[in-house]
């Protein structure tokens, strides 16, 4: 499988590395060349030596997406630090490049829910997950006292 990860932050870098370890072809796109360092944290060899692809460019620029291989991607993960950028990139991947599976990381639970239900793209909301876990933990403490 060809996996394209747009945005190399904490989430993007870890997701990219895991996919590479599983033996997928992984390409990452980030506007900051220095994000390469984040990607290589904890790796014994460089990202390229491990077989990874890296492209510097803006998430919304079609040329950058094409250079990063979106045309042959089976999965696109939009994981920049901007919810709106992720939602737009994900829709471009789906509507224009007809990528089979598109996942957008969205921090705002409301937008994540609405765009998730709208269809086409999958949204993952870490905030909702954190709220549930914290709430659950508090409820457990209340139950114990």
């Amino acid at each position: 499988m060809f996996v394209l990860v747009v945005g190399v932050g904490r989430v993007g870098a870890s997701v990219a590395k895991r996919a590479l370890e599983r033996g997928e072809t992984v390409s990452v796109l980030d506007r900051d060349a220095l994000s390469h360092e984040q990607l290589e944290q904890g790796m014994p060899i460089t990202w390229e030596e491990a077989g990874g692809l890296f492209t510097v460019g803006a998430a919304l620029e079609s040329e950058a997406l094409i250079a990063a291989g979106i045309e042959r991607a089976d999965v696109v993960v939009a994981a920049t630090n901007g919810d709106n950028t992720n939602l737009v990139v994900a829709q471009i991947a789906k509507e224009r490049f007809k990528v089979a599976k598109v996942i957008a990381r969205v921090l705002d639970p409301a937008r994540a829910e609405w765009y998730g239900q709208r269809g086409g793209i999958e949204t993952i909301c870490g905030t909702s997950r954190a709220i549930e876990l914290v709430d659950h933990s508090i409820a457990a403490a209340e139950g114990g006292s």
Partner: protein
């Protein structure tokens, strides 16, 4: 008529001011605290503080009863999302979006955000209209309908120069609809003679521009 404007930059504030003067009801949404404070001095209750890509902010601004939503933030992703939610979630009848980077026009089109207005592109069009020598000018593009109208000047040595309209070898899918001369424009007849210096409006299917322009320009000298 009720208008919600997202983005309190120069465009948004001036728009709000003009619309208020015309008697419209307006709400302006601005997300930067310092900018909000400045605008509030002048526009008072018309301006609301918040991120217009947040649903609750749009709802608080009354997007549900808005007749028109205008997204003019400095961020194209934000403008796309605001318009998308206004249209599809809140059933707002009319939207207008600002395009900051003309390269993003294709994304607005792809996602059905129309009209999407790019000041840069509009100025480019005006420059091209003033300087038609640099080629043909796109006057109108109806992307959905696969139709566009271009303006092209007839140059010395062109195939079309001193030729009757019916004899001009235009490709299928294109048609001369008007001729512009210093004393005015008119719709030509099949026997109208086209002269050097005439400006000709041609309606055509996208992709035929070069073939059409070749008829009105002299053959490239090698």
């Amino acid at each position: 008529m009720y208008v919600v404007i997202a983005g309190g930059g120069k465009v948004g504030v001036n728009l709000a001011r003009e619309l208020l003067e015309k008697g419209y009801e307006v709400t302006l949404i601005e997300q930067r605290r310092d900018r909000y404070t400045v605008i509030e001095d002048e526009l008072e209750h018309v301006v609301q503080y918040g991120d217009a890509t947040e649903m609750w902010v749009l709802e608080r601004a009354g997007v549900l009863r808005a007749d028109l939503l205008v997204a003019v933030t400095g961020d194209d992703e934000d403008n796309i999302l605001i318009c998308q939610m206004a249209k599809e979630k809140y059933m707002c009848e009319r939207i207008v979006a600002r395009v900051n980077n003309p390269r993003n026009v294709e994304h607005f089109n792809l996602l059905g955000i129309r009209p999407a207005v790019s000041a840069t592109n509009m100025i480019l069009r005006l420059i091209e209209h003033e300087v038609p020598k640099i080629g043909l000018v796109h006057l109108l593009e109806l992307t959905d309908d696969q139709i566009e109208i271009i303006e092209v000047e007839v140059l010395e040595g062109a195939q079309a120069a001193n030729c009757a309209v019916s004899d001009i070898p235009l490709p299928d899918g294109s048609l001369i609809i008007s001729v512009l001369r210093p004393d005015g424009g008119f719709v030509p007849r099949p026997d109208t003679l086209i002269g050097v210096g005439d400006e000709v409006l041609v309606v055509l299917a996208p992709g035929l521009e070069e073939q059409v322009a070749a008829v009105f320009n002299p053959p490239a000298s090698s």
